[in-house]
C-alpha cells in the first residue's frame, strides 16, 4: 500500500550543474569532473573532489552575523529550486505546518576547519556545526520543525524517512527534505586514513574499484500528502511509495558481509509499496566504489530481484560520493528517471567486476515501473526508498 505521499518539487546542485535539468543533462553525457582540492592544509595522499563549480549565491545568515556556511548556501540553492517547482501558483501551505529536515553528515565542518586555520569564515567558535536546517528554514520562511539528521552517507535517505513520518503522523502538511554536504578536510583526511579513497575516480561495481571519491552537493524534495497536494493544486512529480530502514548493529564501519539487514530493508520497502520485484524498472544503488559495499549490495540486489538484472544507474560515478546528500540526490535522480522513463547511460568505470553480476548499461535503457534508491552508511545504517512516476 502506498504511503500516499508525493514529491511536488525537486532541486539539485552538484558537480553536475546548478539545477535538476543540468544534472539530468549531465547524466546523459556521463562525463564526471574531478579536481584537486585547493586546501593547503589538506595533508593527505589523495586530495580529489567532485566540487560544485557553479556560482552559488552567499546566504545571509538569519541567525548570526555575516553569511551562513557553504553547506547551507548549497542547500538553500536546491531548496529554492524545489519550492519554485512545487506549485508557485498553488494554494500556499501554512508556514507553521511546513517542516525542514536536512540530512548532512558533516554540516558546516568546512567553515570550522577554516576558522581553525585562521582563514576568513562565517563560523565563530560557538556556531553550531549543524545549523543548516535552521538557516534554510529561515531563508524560505518555514516555521515548522527544522531538524538535522546525520546518519553519515545515508543521512538524507533517513531524512526522507523522517519527513514521511512527520506527514503520516500529522505533524506537518509539507516537508522540505534536503541532503547537503560541502568539502570537509576532516572527512577527506579520515577516509584517506582508512584507505577508502580511489585516486582514479569513483568506480562503482568496477573490477578495479579502489574506494570512493567525495563530492559536494545539495538536493531538495518537497514532500506532501498526495491528497493535500492535489487539493492545493500542486504538481505531483512522483510518488514516494515506501521507505524502509534497518541497522546491521554490528561492525562500526564495514557492512555485514551477508547483507542481511540491507536485504531486509529492500524487501520490506517493496512489500510495503505493494511493488513486485518484477515491477521495478531501475535501481539507484548506494554503489560507492568501495570493495565490500559494492560486493554486498550486488548480492542484495541479485537476491531481491531473483537474479533478474535490473538496470542500475550509478550516480556516484558521475558526481562522486556526496555523503549525507547522496540519498536525496539519488531520489531526485530517481524522480527524473521515473518522469522520463529512461535510465541514462552510465559513466564508463572500466570493466565491471564479474563477481558482481549487476547490470550497469553504457547506453540509455527504457525504465518502466518503480525506481528504487538504496542508501547505506557507517554504523550499519541501511535505507531503501521506492518511488514511482506520477499516476
Amino acid at each position: 500500500m502506498s504511503l500516499g505521499i508525493s514529491v511536488t518539487g525537486t532541486g539539485a546542485v552538484s558537480s553536475a550543474g546548478a539545477d535538476v535539468d543540468a544534472m539530468w543533462a549531465a547524466m546523459g553525457l556521463g562525463l564526471p569532473t574531478v579536481r584537486q582540492v585547493g586546501d593547503e592544509f589538506a595533508h593527505m595522499p589523495v586530495r580529489i573532489l567532485h566540487a560544485v563549480d557553479a556560482e552559488v549565491a552567499a546566504l545571509p545568515s538569519a541567525t548570526g552575523p555575516g553569511t551562513a556556511g557553504r553547506t547551507a548556501a548549497l542547500a538553500a540553492t536546491a531548496a529554492r529550486e524545489a519550492l519554485a517547482a512545487a506549485g508557485p501558483d498553488a494554494e500556499p501551505v501554512d508556514p507553521r505546518r511546513v517542516g525542514v529536515v536536512v540530512g548532512t553528515g558533516m554540516g558546516e565542518s568546512g567553515e570550522h576547519e577554516r576558522r581553525r586555520e585562521g582563514a576568513p569564515t562565517s563560523a565563530s567558535a560557538d556556531q553550531p556545526l549543524f545549523g543548516v536546517a535552521a538557516e534554510v528554514a529561515h531563508a524560505i520562511g518555514a516555521r515548522g520543525p527544522a531538524v538535522s539528521v546525520s546518519n553519515a552517507c545515508a543521512a538524507s535517505a533517513y531524512a526522507i524517512a523522517l519527513a514521511a513520518d512527520m506527514l503520516l503522523d500529522g505533524e506537518c502538511d509539507a516537508v522540505l527534505v534536503l541532503g547537503a554536504e560541502s568539502y570537509s578536510r576532516v572527512a577527506l583526511g579520515c577516509f584517506n586514513r582508512m584507505g577508502a579513497v580511489d585516486p582514479l575516480g569513483c568506480r562503482p561495481f568496477a573490477e578495479k574499484r579502489a574506494g570512493t571519491v567525495f563530492g559536494e552537493a545539495a538536493a531538495a524534495l518537497v514532500l506532501e500528502r498526495t491528497a493535500d497536494a492535489r487539493r492545493r493544486g500542486a504538481p505531483v512529480l512522483a510518488e514516494l511509495l515506501a521507505v524502509a530502514t534497518s541497522c546491521d548493529a554490528g561492525h562500526p564501519t564495514a557492512p555485514d558481509p551477508a547483507g542481511e539487514q540491507a536485504a531486509r530493508s529492500l524487501r520490506e520497502a517493496l512489500e510495503s509499496a505493494g511493488v513486485q520485484p518484477a515491477d521495478v524498472g531501475a535501481v539507484l544503488p548506494h554503489g560507492t566504489g568501495t570493495q565490500l559495499n559494492d560486493a554486498v549490495e550486488a548480492d542484495v540486489l541479485r537476491t531481491a530481484f531473483d537474479g533478474r538484472p535490473v538496470p542500475l544507474y550509478s550516480l556516484k560515478a558521475l558526481v562522486g560520493h556526496t555523503g549525507g546528500a547522496a540519498g536525496a540526490l539519488a531520489a531526485v535522480a530517481a524522480v527524473e528517471i521515473a518522469r522520463h522513463g529512461e535510465v541514462p547511460a552510465n559513466v564508463d568505470v572500466g570493466d565491471l567486476d564479474p563477481e558482481s553480476r549487476v547490470r550497469v548499461d553504457r547506453s540509455p535503457t527504457p525504465a518502466a515501473g518503480a525506481v528504487v534508491v538504496n542508501a547505506y552508511a557507517f554504523g550499519g545504517n541501511n535505507a531503501t526508498l521506492v518511488l514511482a512516476g506520477a499516476p
Binding site: F41, A42, H43, M44, P45, A62, T63, R96, G105, M106, S109, H112, E113, R116, E117, A125, D126, P128, L129, F130, G131, A133, A134, E135, A137, A142, G144, P145, A146, V147, S148, V149, S150, N151, A152, A155, Y158, L162, D165, M166, G170, E171, R185, V186, G189, C190, N192, M194, T245, S246, C247, A249, G250, P252, T253, Q261, F378, G379, G380, N381
Partner: protein
C-alpha cells in the same frame, strides 16, 4: 504533533549537578568528566577506546534498556540518538593532526569517528537495534527530535521499542568553551501503549515542535504550549523553560507566565541541549505533570508534555 508514548525506564550517565534522581535538573558548570570511569561503568570490553560521547551514550542507553523484553525481535528494536556537540569535539583533534601533520598520523581507531552517527554504533550493537539507529544533530533540540521521531515510529508501527538517548559533551581540549556546556547522557526506553492496554510505564510523553522568531516569540511558544495545557487537563502543570540567551531575555521581559497562565521556571541553556533532556527525565521520574519547553539556538522550538502514565487512557 506526535501523539503520546510511554516511557518505561530512564537511564542516565550524568554528573551530580545534572542528576535527575529526585531534584529537578539544573545546569552545572561541568568542564570535564572526572566523575565518569568508563571501565567501572562499562567493563573491560574495549569501551575505553571509544570516544567519550559514545561511552556516555552506551552507559545511559544500557541503563534505560535494563529489564526490556529480551524476546522482542531485534528487528523491532530501534535506537534514536541526539547529540548537537559530539562532532565538534571529535573533529577538532582529527583536524589538528591533518592540518599540522598528515592524515597518515591519524589513529586508525579514531578516524572513523569523524562520522557522528558512530556515537550510536556500539550501543546499537549492544542493544541489537536492527530496526534502525538514527542520529540527530539539531542545535539544542537534538535529543528532543530523537524523542519525537521515536514516538512517530512507534505510533506508526515501525518498531515496538525505542531507546532514545541524548548525549552532549564539552568542546575538545584547547577549544573555546561553550558557556554552561556539560558532559553526560540521559536515555529513555519508550513504547507505544494504545488505549485500553496495560503496559506498565513511568510517564507518558508528547512532543510538539515548531520554531521561534524574536518578533513572534510569545505566540510561537503559546502555539505549542496551549495545546499541551489543554491536554493536561485541570491538574496544575508547570512549564520548565530552557532558553538560549536571546530567547531567555525576551521571555524574561515579556512575562511568559502571565501570557500562558501557568507557572514558568526559566533556565538558560546553550546549543548543547543536555539540560532540557535531563529535565524531561527528571519530570518522568517526578510524576507530576510538567511541560519542558525549549527555545533553542537558531530558532528551534520544542515542548514536551510529561504526564503520569495513569492519565493516559482518559484523553486518547
Amino acid at each position: 504533533m506526535t501523539a503520546a508514548v510511554t516511557v518505561t525506564r530512564v537511564g542516565q550517565c550524568l554528573p551530580a549537578a545534572l542528576s535527575v534522581d529526585g531534584a529537578p535538573a539544573g545546569v552545572g558548570p561541568v568542564r570535564d568528566q572526572d566523575w565518569f570511569d568508563v571501565t567501572e561503568r562499562l567493563g573491560r570490553r574495549g569501551y575505553r577506546y571509544l570516544p567519550l560521547p559514545s561511552q556516555l551514550a552506551i552507559a545511559a542507553g544500557r541503563d534505560a534498556a535494563v529489564g526490556a523484553d529480551p524476546a522482542l525481535p531485534p528487528e523491532q528494536r530501534t535506537l534514536w540518538l541526539g547529540t548537537a556537540s559530539s562532532a565538534s569535539r571529535v573533529h577538532a583533534p582529527l583536524d589538528a593532526t591533518i592540518r599540522q601533520s598528515s592524515s597518515d598520523e591519524l589513529s586508525p581507531a579514531a578516524a572513523p569517528y569523524f562520522s557522528v552517527n558512530l556515537m550510536a554504533g556500539r550501543l546499537a550493537s549492544d542493544l541489537e537495534a536492527r530496526g534502525g539507529a538514527t542520529t540527530f544533530t539539531t542545535p539544542t533540540t537534538a535529543g528532543l527530535d530523537a524523542l519525537a521521531a521515536a514516538a512517530s515510529a512507534l505510533r506508526l508501527g515501525r518498531c515496538a521499542r525505542a531507546v532514545v538517548v541524548s548525549v552532549e559533551v564539552p568542546p575538545a581540549a584547547g577549544q573555546p568553551p561553550l558557556e554552561g556546556e556539560a558532559a553526560g547522557a540521559v536515555a529513555f526506553s519508550v513504547v507505544d501503549a494504545p488505549a485500553g492496554t496495560t503496559v506498565p510505564g513511568l510517564a507518558d510523553v508528547t512532543v510538539r515542535r515548531g520554531s521561534w522568531r524574536p518578533d513572534t516569540l510569545l505566540d510561537d511558544v503559546s502555539s505549542l504550549v496551549q495545546e499541551h495545557v489543554r491536554v493536561a487537563g485541570p491538574a496544575p502543570v508547570a512549564v520548565d523553560l530552557h532558553a538560549v540567551p536571546q530567547a531567555h531575555a525576551l521571555i524574561a521581559d515579556a512575562g511568559l507566565a502571565d501570557h500562558l497562565g501557568v507557572p514558568v521556571r526559566l533556565t538558560a541553556v546553550t546549543a548543547g541541549g543536555l539540560a532540557p533532556a535531563a529535565a524531561v527525565a527528571a519530570a518522568v521520574l517526578d510524576g507530576a505533570p510538567r511541560i519542558v519547553l525549549v527555545a533553542g539556538a537558531m530558532g528551534h522550538l520544542a515542548a514536551v508534555l510529561v504526564r503520569p502514565h495513569d492519565d493516559r487512557e482518559t484523553d486518547r
